[in-house]
């Protein structure tokens, strides 16, 4: 597993002279997987992202993410997985100096098109963060937060939404008798499932998850994975993970990134058994990092 900062990683690779990305990427192999028979939900075209003029975080990303599937992003720390994920719901807009070139399409529509309401986009593309971030409110209030800010005020309707979201998040059984208790009194795993349920309450189409289980114990992680398994029937899920086994277990497609570049995307089975790129193979077999 890769725990090092990107800088440390670079230093190490140079010193060991095992790999330099430029030499090892086989440019003859197309990194973009054209998933022929599937509906594409998210698509990027020659996406370049800069945190500022000197920090080029994403380089020429072209990817297709299919509908109602789990797509996992793997890669060494600092390679830009979170950055790419945060492009999909425009969370990077919060960073004042950041800018991008290229296009990001969701259902074929440019999310930066003029007249796009940011609130609608984020309702459509939900997000679960690495560290669970329940609001200091009751459990009920947490889950109802999204529908409420999106204009639903009817109490019965809200109750219904909260219940179904918590059921989908596999938390209903545990909290149904203490909906008015503070969400902060839940355990770490429960808090993360609450955050998933909170995202689901908005009835999104896509759910972005940035290392949702990395701070949890194995049992909680298992529960989250079960939840994801259940969710992919109805949602398109994009997940970042450092845990290779996890990617292999839950995802249909896996994308491997390195130093801001998308190296390879393919069916998870193929990536883990017979990757096209040497770099991918080295990473998966743990030969560097």
């Amino acid at each position: 597993m890769i725990e090092t900062e990107s800088g440390v990683f670079l230093e190490k690779t140079k010193k060991d002279e095992i790999l330099t990305p430029e030499t090892k990427i086989d440019k003859s192999v197309k990194p973009v997987l054209a998933m022929s028979n599937e509906k594409i939900v998210i698509e990027t075209k020659t996406l370049d992202f800069y945190y500022n003029a000197d920090a080029h975080a994403l380089k020429n990303i072209n990817i297709h993410i299919p509908d109602k599937k789990v797509t996992a992003f793997i890669g060494p720390s600092g390679c830009g997985k979170s950055t790419l994920l945060r492009c999909f719901n425009r969370m990077n807009d919060l960073i004042s100096d950041a800018f991008h070139t290229g296009e990001i399409l969701i259902n074929g529509v440019d999310i930066y098109k003029e007249g796009t309401r940011l609130e609608d986009l984020r309702k459509q593309v939900g997000m679960v963060f690495q560290k669970s971030n329940p609001f200091p409110m009751s459990i009920w209030e947490n889950v109802a937060f999204g529908p409420k800010v999106n204009g639903i005020n009817d109490k019965d309707e809200l109750n219904e939404i909260v219940e179904s979201a918590l059921k989908q998040g596999d938390l209903w059984r545990e909290v149904k008798d203490r909906m008015q208790n503070s969400a902060l009194d839940l355990s770490g795993g429960q808090q993360q499932r609450l955050c998933i349920a909170r995202a689901l309450a908005n009835k999104p189409e896509i759910i972005l998850m940035d290392e949702p289980a990395s701070a949890l114990d194995p049992i909680s992680t298992g529960k989250i994975e079960e939840t994801i398994e259940e969710l992919k029937k109805n949602y398109t899920i994009v997940i970042v993970t450092h845990n290779m086994q996890q990617a292999a277990r839950i995802s249909d497609y896996t994308a491997f990134m390195m130093l801001g570049e998308l190296i390879e995307v393919d069916l998870t089975k193929k990536i883990f058994t017979n990757p096209t790129q040497k770099l991918t193979e080295d990473y998966i077999t743990g030969r560097f990092g």
């Binding site: 984020r122 939900g126 669970s132 200091p136 503070s182 902060l184 808090q191």
Partner: protein, 545 residues
Amino acid sequence: MNSAKSYQKKKGTGYVFTSGLGLVISLAMVAWIIIIILVKGLGFFWPGDVLQVKLQNGDSYMGELWDEHLDKETLVEETQIKIGNRDVYGRDFIWLKNNEIASRSYPENAVTFERMEYGNFYGFIKAAYLDDKIVQPGDGETLKDVVFDVHDQAMDTKEQINDLQEEATEIMAPLAEVQREMTLLQLAGAEETATGKQQFDELQKKADELDKEISPQIEKINAQLTTLVLRDRASYLEVETADGTTKHIELSSIVRFFYPNEMGAVSKSIHYAGKLWEFVADNPRESNTEGGVFPAIFGTVLMVLLMSIAVVPFGVLAAIYLNEYAKQGAIIRFIRLSVNNLAGVPSIVFGVFGLGFFVYAVGGSIDQLFFSSKLPEPTFGTGGILWASLTLALLTLPVVVVATEEGILAVPRANKEGALALGSTKWQMIRKIVLPNAMPGILTGLILAISRGAGEVAPLMITGVVKLAPTLALDGSFPFLHLDRKFMHLGFHIYDVGFQSPNVEAAKPMVYSTALLLIIIVVLLNLFAIYIRNNLRKKYKTSTF
């Protein structure tokens, strides 16, 4: 190695000792001032025994023992007595040399009178008169029983007089209004134009009609009043001072009287409680040196509330803008620095600004626009509780801004991003996530603002505080809250009574009592805000995970 270690240790102990000493000294000073204020402020209301002294030269004085000391030059013990009877002696206190005092006694029948004017009177009651006729005690009655009874009667009469006077003012009100309009017309020079003259004549006719209509009622009331006032003046006590001078005291001018030397601890305590109550619930008497301070308490609390209402929204909005909306950079840094420096500007400067901006500019314009009929008499164009509160709000704004900013900075970024990721707008995020979480910080700012604002006197003196406000800013007449009215304030009261009153020595205890009250009120207001803050803290305690 060893010596270095012990040296370091020694040095450390020195620092600990010095800082500890500093803390102890400041705590001791705070405790000292509070104890002084408590003792002197609370002791004032205790009914002291009345001491009678006879001097070797035959003079005799009576009053409360006030102080004793050794004169450093003559090395003679001296005793200070509060002899009261200002209308007789022309002073309240006297220093007597102990070696000239022949005898001291506490006569049972000595009486302390608290009067509406001229301070206390110490003496003996000789007889009571109602309507110029002496009232003899009946069978089994003592003179003492009689005097309390006649005092009650006199107080009733006084109340009747007040009621009748109020009634008369009410009846006269329409006529007074017409007359005021006529004066205004005259002032405006209306008599020189034809229409003006016509208007004036119409008003004159109306006034005459009204006059005819109400004069029978007024005459009736006046007749009643005359008898009552005459009776009031002819009801008095005949009293004698320690040296045998007799004097008449009108019964209605006596607030209360009692026989302190006969009173036990219980009745003294009851008396004490009554006096305390009078202090917090009554109007002041005798240019503020006697009676209560209720209007000042009311003014202080109302002003602090108005100030809070004004300062919190502005301070919070400013802090939100600085942290959430403004693009961080040199300009914002400069603004932040300026706001912080505002806290260091002397308060009188704010007062001058308040006078120039709020009173003259804003108040003057309001008068022009809405109260032009009353001009040249100003309504809002003069000092008032609203302008004073706003001036203090300005003064305390930096405190609220800084504290709120700290509260906002403490809100976890993850929570803010979480709210935005759920599709909330920035404002929804601020309202639902940032503000509730920053609430303890905001209240800390409010607490600091109250502490600073409640004690300020200088800026108030030029923006609306007065030594005696005849009417409270909140009353039963429409529109109930009269923001244009002048008001009294405990801080100013201390200054006024302690340094501006004609009889500083007699007013000294009042200064302590008022200071104590001011401290108590500031503490209570703060406790209230702290209570709310702690409740909110519990509610918004940050995630443990």
